[in-house]
Each structure stands twice: as C-alpha cells, then as structure tokens.
Symmetry: C2
Subunit: 330 residues, 2 copies
C-alpha cells in the first residue's frame, strides 16, 4: 500500500438524473416494460415515453453515485467520477452530489448529448422499472479518471452499467488498474442481469480482478451460468475475496474468508419505492469495510441503509445515515 | 354570457420549476432569508444560494400552475398560460402540467433567459421560504394570451406575482379584459404581502375588476392598509363579490352574498411542507364554485385540497383530489 488513503470510497459510474413517476401495471404492459429491470432507451423513445408518463419528480441518481452519496451520509470520505453535460440537469447532478458532501470534479461534456436521465416508473407495489437514456454519461473517457484521486481511495467502486458503451468501459478498466497499482481494492456491482448477459465474456474476465463483488441472485446466475444459486455463489466466491449477494426482502448473504454470512433485511415501516435499494446496501457494506467493521456488521449497515432508501421516493438517503446507524447499532 | 364554457378554470401565472431542499433556521439566518416569504433573486444570487443548499428535488411549481393542476386533479377542465424557456426545465414544466391533464400551449421563450426556478427552503417546522429567479416567466406577453381559451373558461385565475414585471402585468390585464368581455369571471390571488406593497396602487385599482379574490391575512391588511383584520375584510368584500381570506392552520373565511362563512382547516396527519397550501386551497374553492357547490362546500373542498398539499414535499397533489373529495364529502 502506498500513502495513507484520504478517501474511503471513490465511485465511477453513469451520472444520471432520475425522473420518477407513478405508473400502474397496465401502463408497463402497454409500454412493453419489464417490471423491475433496466432498459436502455434512445432519444426518440425517451421523448415518447416521457410524453405519456404521469407528472414526475427529478432527483439525482446513477447507481454508483447513489452509493457514493450513501457513503458520505454514513460519514465516509467520498468522491465520484462520472460525466454530465453542460446543461441544467448536469448542474442539478453536480449540485446534489457536492451538496451531499462528495468530492466531484469531472468536467462536463460540451456537445450535443444532454445529461443522462432515467425514466423511473414506480408501481403501487413499490417496484421501480428503469428506462435509461444514457446521453452524455458514456462519454466518460480514461482521461476523466483522476489518477491521484483513485490512488488515494481505499476502495474504487465501479458499476456494471458502464459496460454498456465502449468509451466508458475503457475508463472503467483504467480506474481498476490505477487502484490495483496503488495497492487499493476494487469493488464492482453487476448492476443488471441483462447487462451481464450483454457483456458476459468481459464480466467473466473482469471478476478475477475484483476484490468486492455485489450481485443479486439473477445477476449471480447470469454471470456464472449456474441455475442453482448455491453453485453460482460458490463459483463467484472462488474468484472474489468478498461476494455480496442480495435477495431483496429476504436480505443478503456475504461470502468472505471461506464463510457465508446471512444478513437479515432491516425492517421498513412503509415500503414506498425500491429505487436505490441495492445502491444503498452497497454503500453500507463498503462503508463498514472501510471503517474496519467485521463482515456481519458491514452487512447490517448495508441493510439499514437500504431500508432507509426504500422508505421514500428517490434513490438517495433523505436523512443522515450516520445518525441512523448510531441509533440502530448503538 | 357567450357560448357554453368548455374550460372550468384557466390560470395565468409565472411558470416555475421548484427546487426543494431542507434547511434549518440557522441557514435561513445566515442567508438573510425571511421565513415563509417569497423573495425575488437574480442569476448571481440564485447560483450562489443554490451552491450552498442541501441536495434538492425538482418539481414543477408556480402558484397559479399549482392551482390549475389541482383543478385538473379535482376533475375540472383546466388550462394554463405561462412562459418557460426552450430548455430542460421548461420541458419538465410542460410535461408535468400536461401530464396532470391540463391544456397548455404557451410557446417557450427562445433566448438567453432560462426557465424560472424557485429555490424553496423547507425548515423542520414544515414552513417554506421561497427564493424566486423569474428567468423566462415574466416574458409572457399579451400575445401569449389565447383569446379563445380565456373566453371559453368559466373563470380566469391570475396570480399577483405576475405584477412583478411590466411585460407580464400587461398580459395579466389583457386576460382579465378578455374574460370580462366574454361574460366570464376573473379570480385573483394577491400572492405575497411584499408583492402587494410593491404594487399597491395598481392592485387597489384592479380589485374592482375581480370577482373572486384570494388573500391571506397579511395580504388583506397590506392591500387595504387596515391594521384591523375585520376592517380589512369589510373593505375588500365591499369591492369583490367573493373574498377568501386564509389563516393558515386556523382555516379560512369566505365573504360572499353579504355573509361571512367560516371554513375549518382539514386535519393533516403529518405536516411535511406547506409549499402549495394556498394554491391548492384556491383550487378547491374555484373548483367548487364552477361545479355549482355552495360557498361553504367550496371552502371545504379548498381545505381538503390544501391538507393534501402540505402532507408531502412539493406543491402539487400527489393523489387524485377527485377521489379524496368523494371519500371525504361523500
């Protein structure tokens, strides 16, 4: 390890503003949207779908960005790298992540592509179905990767969604390389089953270089091509030192040091919107690890942070997670 | 009266996107912001204040626009006239009001002024303090006033905030004149005590041409220059057929047909954010009047709509007011 780390976690991801609106199952069916998933959409589809959506609310999002906002809310030193455009939604994204206490200095894209937005449809069962227009976000390049910043961070956290465009993928690999060269750890979230299937070979190569892996059950199966979950988990934990597999309301399992730690989900008074649940679970686990907590405690912090995220509309914490953890864990 | 009205209420106002964030009293004090009021700010101040604000949420706002969204949610035929810019926040505003079921066709301003935004600071006591950057909104001109639309509406509803810029004021007077020439009614909200004081002479002339007036206690006093509330109310009701004076949590009084109708506030389970309370009260009253309800019932609909607005963050209804009224009034 090089010099003392000054950042706990730096995230690299698609910088996205979420546009959240209510929808019913009939609307999803009419639009051909698979509930709970993430679909990439182009400009025409984005405009078309938006025109039919209910009145919406705009909030900063982006998977790794949500996680990093969670790290800051937990009291960790956090930084983020991701590309917005030089437009109003880009200003919203930059304001919100900085106001959350995150170091953020990626220069905006000036050109025709607007800031990325994700049209999030929230059904009465609190599930979110995401329709992402990537806009400027995949124009993140290796040049945007701040070498000193990555080298100064205990963990570099990457989102699998970046794999959807070659420019961003290159930035992704550059960041991972810098982190490992500096003796730091690399964490990855697989993000989405279809994303894993689209880039199966590259994800398979990549995980040998990942120290901390986040996946839900579907993503774990898609990557290992094992239909049996236990076999999938074994396959992943043979290759990554720490593997966190989430099971929604059933909690999660963290495979580490040859053992499997079952982590219960934290209670939620009223389930409102699952947007950000996985992102905030990752925040809690990563924060716990950088704070020197043991794996079960890190997992518990993840569960508590996820429970906060799903108790309101929007993907980022709306209260201090640091205070929440202090009250809950004592 | 001319032909049969096809619109219940058309609103004319500043088309604004709200940027809502939490703040504490110390922040308001440090920024020199008077709690509960509305302050006009310029570009430099808007950027400066925004940079120090907490992470925010963007939602369409604008006083009359919120009222009109409420009319639509109540089941009324609603239309809106207001100016946005040809930018992302303008697209957000246009989407949201149309998605709420409102007819909206004002052409966007193309030029240097962006869509108006209001930086709303919500304190733990649920009070909102508004800092408005008017941007494109006062560039509404008499040409934007759709004559046929105004003539087809039972009530044309105008917000006092438009008085803050001469271009918009001219549009305001044009709309009122068209409405009266078509034998329709004109409603006005005084909007803000300081706004009334800034334009005292013109407001005083204007109210003789207003059929339905909305004011809170402070605005009623500022306009009449009576320190005694009863005297202020008498002075206003001598000049306007229907005068609705709101008293926050204490409810409202509607002066009409020579009588004073006390309207109780509707119960609120959890007071979250008072943004939009007055706007939604006006929606309920105006809807009630156009639906042929008596004044006490129209007032009660106003109270119920206002209670919904203050039970969540954001100024517009987040559930069907039509269903809420059906459940509550039976």
């Amino acid at each position: 390890m090089n010099e003392k780390a000054t950042i706990d976690v730096v995230g690299v991801g698609n910088a996205i503003v979420d546009v959240l609106a209510e929808a019913d199952d009939a609307f999803l069916a009419a639009e051909g949207i698979a509930k709970g998933g993430m679909t990439l959409i182009d400009t025409a589809r984005a405009n078309d779908l938006y025109a039919r959506m209910a009145p919406a609310v705009e909030m900063s999002g982006g998977s790794a960005a949500n996680t990093i906002a969670g790290i800051a809310s937990l009291g960790g030193a956090a930084a983020y790298i991701g590309k917005v455009a030089d437009d109003q939604l880009g200003a919203v994204f930059a304001h919100d992540i900085r106001a959350a206490g995150v170091r953020y200095g990626t220069g905006p894209l000036t050109g025709s592509e607007p800031t990325a937005r994700c049209l999030v449809l929230i059904t009465p069962d609190a599930q979110r179905s995401m329709n992402t227009f990537l806009g400027a976000s995949p124009f993140l390049t290796a040049e945007d990767i701040d070498v000193a910043l990555i080298a100064s961070a205990r963990i570099t956290y990457l989102e699998g969604y970046l794999f959807d465009r070659p420019e961003a993928k290159a930035a992704f690999f550059a960041a991972a390389k810098i982190a490992h060269n500096a003796g730091r750890r690399v964490a990855l979230t697989l993000s989405d089953t279809f994303c894993v299937e689209r880039h199966h070979a590259e994800f398979t190569q990549l995980i040998d270089h990942v120290d901390i892996l986040f996946a839900n059950e579907g993503e774990a199966r898609a990557l290992t091509r094992e239909t049996d979950f236990a076999a999938a988990a074994r396959a992943l934990s043979a290759r990554c030192p720490i593997v966190c597999v989430t099971h929604g309301a059933a909690g999660s399992v963290i495979f580490a040091d040859g053992g499997a730690h079952k982590i219960a989900a934290a209670p939620v008074e009223r389930l409102v919107d699952t947007t950000g649940a996985g992102d905030l679970y990752a925040a809690g686990v990563l924060y716990g690890i950088t704070a020197g907590r043991d794996i079960p405690t890190a997992g518990r912090i993840g569960s508590i942070a996820a429970a906060e995220a799903i108790s309101h509309v929007g993907p980022r914490p709306q209260r201090s997670l640091r205070e929440l953890i202090a009250q809950t864990l004592g």
